[in-house]
């Protein structure tokens, strides 16, 4: 049985193909202005890797902010449900999932059977999201991938007090002018992100085990600062955290196919 999940996000598009419940192929592609095109690019790349075509796939679920625009999807599910399902399928002791995406940030609570109990989202504001890191990287003239490792070198973390990422940028510029060490500024940025994510966690309550998904989960700095604030270590997943949404979608596709 071949099923797939396609996750069209704000910064990347992802696809996961399952064969009899196991991951056969996947892809991560950069986003395009048209969600349909992003979806096709993601799907095609995943298919190509295994010499498959779209007809081979029996059921496809779309998710992500562009989910309604995926023409080849049989139906769509919210990304919260998908992230919950994907993470739980890998580690059944997981109860809290933190998804830090490009433009939004979500916390999902699941019960012992992997069903979603509650969730909290922040999508009105860039603070605490991948976008914030992008802006900061540009301001500091660093590469996005460098931010995490650099933050861990800090000896004297700077305090970024601005709630809003626009003002935080100004604050960073003035810290640079004051001669504060780059590592310390980057540490401050990561702590600020962790703080924003914490306020979301408070809304649903923290329950172990906990894991972090989404692209920003690959940033060691964000993970470290978040773990410090939560006082709890996040469980690592055996699958790329960026793929968890698409994985969950594919698992739901499998269920829906079975139910037909």
């Amino acid at each position: 049985m071949l099923v797939a999940g396609c996750d069209v996000g704000s910064l990347t598009g992802k696809a996961v193909i399952l064969k009899d419940g196991e991951i056969l192929s996947y892809s991560i592609v950069p986003t395009t202005p048209k969600p349909e095109r992003t979806a096709r690019n993601a799907m095609n790349e995943a298919l190509k890797k295994e010499n498959l075509s779209l007809d081979n796939i029996e059921y496809i679920i779309g998710t992500g902010y562009g989910r309604v625009k995926i023409p080849f999807a049989n139906s769509e599910t919210s990304e919260l449900t998908c992230h919950g399902k994907g993470a739980y399928s890998l580690v059944q002791s997981i109860r809290t999932i933190i998804d830090v995406g490009g433009q939004d940030c979500k916390v999902i609570k699941v019960d012992k059977n992997g069903k979603i109990l509650d969730f909290a989202m922040n999508d009105k504001c860039a603070a605490g999201t991948g976008r914030f890191l992008e802006v900061m990287a540009r301001t500091l003239e660093l590469k996005l991938e460098e931010l995490g490792p650099i933050s861990l070198l800090s000896k004297n973390q700077a305090k970024i007090t601005a709630q809003c990422s626009v003002f935080a940028e100004t604050e960073v510029v003035s810290l640079m002018a004051d001669g504060v060490e780059v590592a310390d500024i980057v540490a401050g940025i990561h702590d600020a992100i962790a703080s924003r994510i914490m306020s979301l966690i408070y809304r649903v309550g923290l329950e172990e085990d906990l894991t972090i998904t989404g692209g920003v989960a690959k940033n060691l700095g964000v993970v470290a600062y978040l773990e410090k604030r939560m006082g709890v270590k996040a469980k690592k997943l055996s699958v790329d955290p960026q793929l968890i949404g698409a994985l969950g979608a594919a698992l739901i596709a499998k269920e829906k196919l079975k139910a037909q």
Partner: protein
């Protein structure tokens, strides 16, 4: 300035020791913090009153007195008349603010999902946070006004819901009781208040299982009015140039009336303030030597910044005559009969600090400010409005326009949070005020 006599300081420190009880842990912490902060101040009657407010609560617990919590805009005379122990709720946030401890309880309130700034006023939110942590004194009864402030009414409702204690609501009507306010006048206003007060007394008698002693009641109202006489005089004396008292000295009057109104302590405290003003005028002493700027401050003090006023005095020789709360404006009334006593209580509720100016149309507030500016020879107005205080902040701009038009004096409005130092920092506030005073006023 004279320092607190070491003997007196030690005496009060000793009184603060011992076990006050778990639910008074925050209360005790506030007492010790305030005692420590004030140890470099002169030991005045007002300071004595402040320390006693804290010490009276554990005493009342031991004696088994019924403790009734009430808001900052209601005078507790009827509670004193019935030998109940009143607990003024906002003492928490006001007392914790200069110790920078509000932040902990505000964060805890956020954590349990109660409110965010600026939806709900931080004057009451620390109560919920501290209650949930088991650190707040739980009263036996709850009293609050359903008007004029939504945030207060809602937070008390939530507290009632969480603590499950009996509560009584009182309504403050929209209308004026004197004809001169013309279109906003209603001749039944006082009658309505008196009816509600009688309802309150029935409820208190039922809940505390004791009857109101009418002799006590009349004596209490006599005390209240004596205190009001002193405050009236004091307020008049502040019109003198230069102002005989330092910034916000009037806040002591408000503090006395809102915690001990009706008792001998309040009479003593208000008399002392009046006498001090009289002495100062006689001896030619100004509250701020070489007074240059007289400021009207028609909102609350920025509570977390304990040094703001001193900074204003030292840097600009500016005296803040009175803030909105400190400018206690209830007039003394006739207390010769019990009915007159009820009326006096009713008028006290209607005209209490912040209620009188904010319960009705904006005209009440504008009139208050215009009179304040004219009578006290004010040079400029500073309005540090709280973000969450919607009924006040939504008046600020129109009021400043009218004041500027009618008196020509400059007005500064800025947003801040008087209880949480993190929203708008001391530095930011001082920068705004400095710019205003240096560019515009001087």
């Amino acid at each position: 300035m004279k320092k607190l006599d070491i003997e007196i300081y030690n005496k009060y420190k000793k009184l603060g020791r011992g076990n006050w009880g778990k639910d008074l842990s925050m209360w005790k912490m506030m007492y010790m913090g305030i005692l420590y902060q004030r140890k470099d101040e002169e030991f005045t009657t007002i300071l004595e009153l402040l320390f006693n407010i804290f010490l009276d609560l554990p005493k009342a617990r031991k004696e088994g007195k019924t403790i009734i919590m009430h808001p900052f805009n209601y005078g507790p005379e009827i509670f004193h008349a019935m030998n109940l122990e009143p607990l003024m709720q906002e003492l928490f946030s006001v007392g914790l603010a200069p110790l920078h401890l509000n932040e902990t309880y505000i964060d805890f309130s956020n954590k349990i999902g109660f409110g965010d700034n600026p939806t709900l006023c931080n004057a009451q939110r620390p109560l919920i946070g501290s209650f949930m942590q088991g650190a707040a004194p739980i009263p036996d009864l709850l009293f609050f006004l359903s008007t004029p402030c939504n945030s207060l009414a809602m937070t008390y409702q939530v507290f009632e819901n969480l603590a499950k204690i009996p509560a009584f609501n009182m309504d403050v009507p929209y209308w004026a009781y004197e004809q001169q306010a013309s279109e906003f006048y209603d001749d039944k206003t006082v009658e309505y208040m008196v009816k509600q007060i009688k309802d309150l007394i029935s409820w208190l008698e039922q809940e505390s299982k004791q009857k109101l002693n009418y002799e006590n009641f009349q004596q209490t109202m006599k005390n209240v009015n004596q205190a009001r006489e002193y405050i009236l005089e004091f307020n008049e004396l502040l019109k003198t140039v230069p102002c005989p008292m330092p910034s916000q000295a009037g806040f002591g009057n408000y503090l006395a009336m809102v915690t001990r109104g009706g008792t001998d302590d309040a009479v003593k405290a208000t008399k002392w303030l009046r006498d001090t003003a009289v002495e100062n005028i006689k001896n030619g002493i100004a509250g701020v030597p070489d007074e240059k700027i007289r400021i009207a401050w028609p909102y609350t003090h920025v509570f977390f910044d304990a040094d703001l006023l001193t900074w204003l005095e030292e840097t600009f020789k500016a005296v803040v005559i009175m803030d909105l709360l400190g400018f206690y404006q209830v007039l003394p009334h006739d207390t010769s009969t019990i009915d007159k006593c009820y009326e006096s209580l009713a008028l006290g509720t209607l005209d209490f600090s912040m209620v009188g100016t904010c319960r009705g149309p904006i005209e009440y507030y504008i009139e208050f400010l215009l009179n304040y500016v004219k009578d006290y020879k004010i040079d400029c107005v500073i309005m540090p409005m709280q973000f969450a205080c919607k009924h006040a902040y939504a008046m600020a701009r129109v009021t400043s326009e009218v004041v500027r038009e009618e008196t020509g004096i400059p007005v500064l409005i800025f947003g801040c949070d008087p209880y949480d130092s993190r929203e708008v920092t001391s530095e930011a506030i001082r920068t705004r005020i400095s710019e205003f005073l240096t560019q515009i006023v001087l």
